[in-house]
């Protein structure tokens, strides 16, 4: 233990004097600041849009229900476009009583942009086909999407390992190259222990520095550390385990006793393989084994189904009344099978039913791809570290899937409300506007389980790092490290 303090103290002095190493820490400050700024920009944009969405919904409901109340009082009919008549349920659903189902960004969303730039974060409910729900994409410049975002998840997954490599690639080799190695070997501690202690010190220093930086950064961005303690603890835990993995790996490579050039080349090679090549290969494998059906085919099939259904509109409506006799019995009003609103609603439902098999193919393949990636994620820590960070930020695949699921349930309730009214040929009264189903997204407990799956991922990181250290410790005797050697290629 005394040895460690001794070595750590002198390493600290050396680090302070070494400009290149100091600049690593300075770079880290810049990176974290820029990353949190980028994350904050995106979260602000989403929050502003969602606030507008809420305001739009409130205003529209207020305006239209007031208009209907006025028309009811005056007894006059609506004189505008019949498709937008707020006194009719289909007109109301198309242009007056649109509910929005939104996914508000969580406080920790600044950490990882994740899928939030590609996936919808709000859906507008109306009476069109279910597929139309997915047409409301956010406007994004594809070039910026392609480049990716400079968020904290990027800094942790990609840049932190590079900084660790820069901090450690010559921890032993520099002693040799500067000629101070014989001095160390003349001491009582083995070179192996010196190297290990140095790395442990640098690991501790970097982890503490980075954790402090993230805490300060998050506080500056307006996040309550106390409230988000669990998420922040998970974030720092993942980062520390990931850093431990890279430090362990570096120790293993340094223990080979080769020059700093060799160490840097090997470590960067491993970085490239783990962070760039292997994820790309996994993506290729996922697409090769479970290719996604074509969405272009889905469009063509939907249009065929639409045409078919429109031709049989009246029949479909008649069939619906057969299946729902409680709606056919109206008492005073006769059932109108030529009811345009009802028949177009039925046509939409029929089309949805017709293309359901193809949609299911998509869902099945997507699920199979996700399972393959989940099973094989251990080929590269970048994959599961990125996923874990996205889960902490609530911007990962799992969250959006859950959001979509809840949205579809809410949409079904919304549609059922209007379907009843259309089939029964009821009018929309001003009081009905308050009855339109309203739903809110709630984070499912199942997602907490998804975050817990991170247990195996953390274990992988610590285990792999540990194995690398053991491998390093088992390397050939330190004496060999002191032999003069021409610098290797």
């Amino acid at each position: 233990m005394r040895n460690f303090y001794f070595i750590a103290f002198y390493d600290w002095l050396m680090l302070r004097a070494n400009k290149m190493l100091l600049s690593c820490f300075a770079l880290l400050v810049l990176f974290v600041a820029f990353a949190l700024w980028t994350g904050q920009q995106r979260v602000d944009f989403h929050q502003t849009t969602l606030d507008k969405v809420k305001a739009t919904e409130k205003r529209l409901f207020a305006e239209k229900s007031q208009l209907v109340a006025d028309l009811e009082q005056s007894g006059k009919p609506f004189t505008g476009n019949s498709h937008r008549d707020p006194t009719e349920p289909n007109g109301a659903a198309n242009s007056a009583a649109n509910r929005y189902f939104s996914l508000a960004p969580t406080p920790l969303a600044v950490v990882a942009v994740g899928q939030s730039d590609l996936r919808a974060y709000y859906y507008k409910f109306g009476l069109h086909k279910k597929q139309a729900l997915y047409h409301g994409e956010e406007i994004e410049n594809a070039a910026i999407l392609y480049n990716g975002h400079f968020d904290l998840a990027f800094v942790i997954t990609f840049l932190l390992p590079l900084l660790i490599i820069a901090l450690t690639f010559n921890v032993v080799a520099s002693e040799k190259e500067r000629g101070t190695l014989p001095l160390i070997l003349a001491g009582t501690t083995s070179l192996r222990n010196v190297a290990l202690n140095k790395l442990v010190f640098r690991f501790g220093l970097l982890s503490l520095f980075f954790s402090g930086l993230v805490l300060i950064g998050l506080a500056l961005v307006g996040i309550s550390i106390a409230q988000e303690a669990a998420g922040i603890a998970a974030l720092l835990g993942v980062t520390t385990a990931y850093a431990a993995f890279w430090f362990g790996l570096s120790f293993g490579v340094n223990s080979q006793g080769k020059g700093s050039g060799f160490n840097a080349a090997v470590l960067v090679g491993v970085w490239l393989a783990l962070l760039v090549v292997l994820p790309a290969l996994l993506s290729v494998a996922a697409n090769a084994y479970y290719p996604m059906p074509s969405r272009v085919e889905l469009i063509a099939e939907t249009r065929e189904a639409s045409e078919e259904a429109k031709k049989n509109g009246a029949q479909i409506l008649a069939q619906y009344f057969e299946d729902h006799p409680e709606l056919a019995a109206q008492g005073s009003k006769p059932v109108d099978t030529k009811n345009f609103a009802a028949s177009s609603l039925m046509v939409n439902l029929e089309v949805e039913k017709a293309i359901r098999p193809l949609e299911e193919k998509f869902e099945v393949q997507k699920d199979k791809q996700a399972r393959l990636v989940a099973q094989w994620r251990f080929v590269s820590p970048a994959i599961f570290v990125q996923q874990m960070l996205e889960n902490i930020a609530a911007t990962g695949d799992a969250h959006y899937l859950d959001f979509e699921q809840q949205m579809l349930n809410a949409h079904a309730k919304y549609r059922a409300f209007f379907t009843q009214k259309i089939i029964k040929q009821e009018k929309m009264r001003a009081t009905d506007y308050d009855q339109v189903p309203k739903s809110q997204y709630t984070h499912s407990p199942g997602l907490v389980r998804a975050t817990r799956a991170g247990f195996w991922d953390i274990l992988w990181l610590l285990g792999a790092g540990f194995i690398a250290i053991i491998w390093g410790l088992l390397q050939v005797a330190p004496r060999k490290m002191a032999e003069p050697r021409w610098i290797e290629a």
Binding site: M20, F34, Q41, F45, K52, T56, Q115, L118, G136, E137, E138, I139, N141, A142, A143, I144, N147, G148, H149, F154, F158, L159, A166, F169, N170, S174, E177, G259, S260, G261, A264, A265, V276, V277, P279, A280, L281, L282, S283, V284, N287, A288, M292, S294, V296, E297, I299, A300, R303, E307, F362, K366, Q369, V373, A382, E390, D397, W486, I487, A489
Partner: protein, 474 residues
Amino acid sequence: MLTAVLHKEFRSLLADARLRWSAIVSLGLFVLALITGLSHYQNTNRLYTKAQEDTYRQWLDQGEKNPHSAAHYGLYAYKPVPLLAIFDRGMDDYLGNAVWLEAHNQNEVKLRTVQDAGTIGRFGALTVGFIWQFILPLIIILLAYNNLSKEYESGTLRMLLSTQISTFSLLTGKVLGILTAVLLCLYLPMLLLLSGALYWAGGAEAFARILPSLGLAAILYALFYAVFVVLSVSFSAWLRSSGLSLAALLGVWAIGAFLLPRISGSVAMSLHPTPSALDFTEKVLSQREKGLDGQGSYEKFQEALKAKALRDYGVDSLSQLPVSFAGIALQASEDRDWKVYDLQYGALFRLFQAQNALLERFNLLSPILAMRDVSRSLAGTDLYKHLNFTRQAENHRRLTAKVMNTDQKINGVVQERDYKAGAALWQKVPQFQYQNQSLGEQLQQQWFSLLSLGCWLLGLTFCLYRSAQTLHLD
């Protein structure tokens, strides 16, 4: 003497284990990327060609209906997959591929395939372009980082400087030797395999058509690799230590390949923020309803139109018109909407162009990004091509609307909205055929990136010259 140095560098690199290993790894990845690219091209191309035919067949088989209903049914335009997408898939996964051409609404091009991929899709695709733009420069760095520094460290520089060769010729010889080895052992085999694959996938005619683009890309890539060889040798001569040289070169590569693209995105978004879809849609709808230039609401516009029609044809009531008023009104409302779309979409596309101009400025700081943009443009998988497709699709939509409304105007005079047309009218709308941009147009769009590459090559050659001046024993 220069040729002797070239020869020596070439031979020693050939014998180097690094070249062997990097050749094995890069060729292995290349073959995998080529197979993936081929299979992706064949599937997607077949699907899109079939989809384009299907949508036109659906359009022709609509049966008898009112022309305006047909315009509402509309048809789809699909962006074709170019043959060179096998070589560089560019941004196609992030750009939409299909747009619905319907009456009244200018829709956006949808179906970003990357949406189906999840987190793993954001790590990047293994394509030939990726290997040529990111991996090969890294291999060059790993092969050449210690070219001069090893001479320092092992003492052989003394011998070299004692010969009659000028230091600049020495460095040039080294650069050319390394470049020859890289081009012959890594680049050329890949280029030949790629050409074979393109010929096989597209056939002789298509191959002949893309040959100029492919040839130009091949030359530009060779110059791109020259940039990296000169960069590596310069750093090696300047920094004198192999470890430091490697660390610095890897830093340059990491910044150019990973940091700058993401930083540029954040800067572009903050300086030119895109409107939200909500704001954009609201603006378009409100302008369509209220009208531009004091046209007034749609109802007022209709009234003015009626009055004008009665005046133009010298009649007292709509039933006396020799043409269908529905036809006149529909086309007039389209014209009115098109002005709004041109204004709003025009502003949006100008915003995208401002963002992209800013992104392009960053290419000056990274030859990798400059080469990436040029490569995508030549392959036909970049944003300019996409905007070109969007414009052509919109023109086709407007043509369709005009044909339908003109027919309604002329032939629907008696029955107005009850007028039905058939296949004879649908056939008047031609099949949508995307016209490719010319090579000249593509090069014009990429002038800044090409200039950046040129600056890098010239600048680094000058650095090499300066390194040669300061090359001496300590």
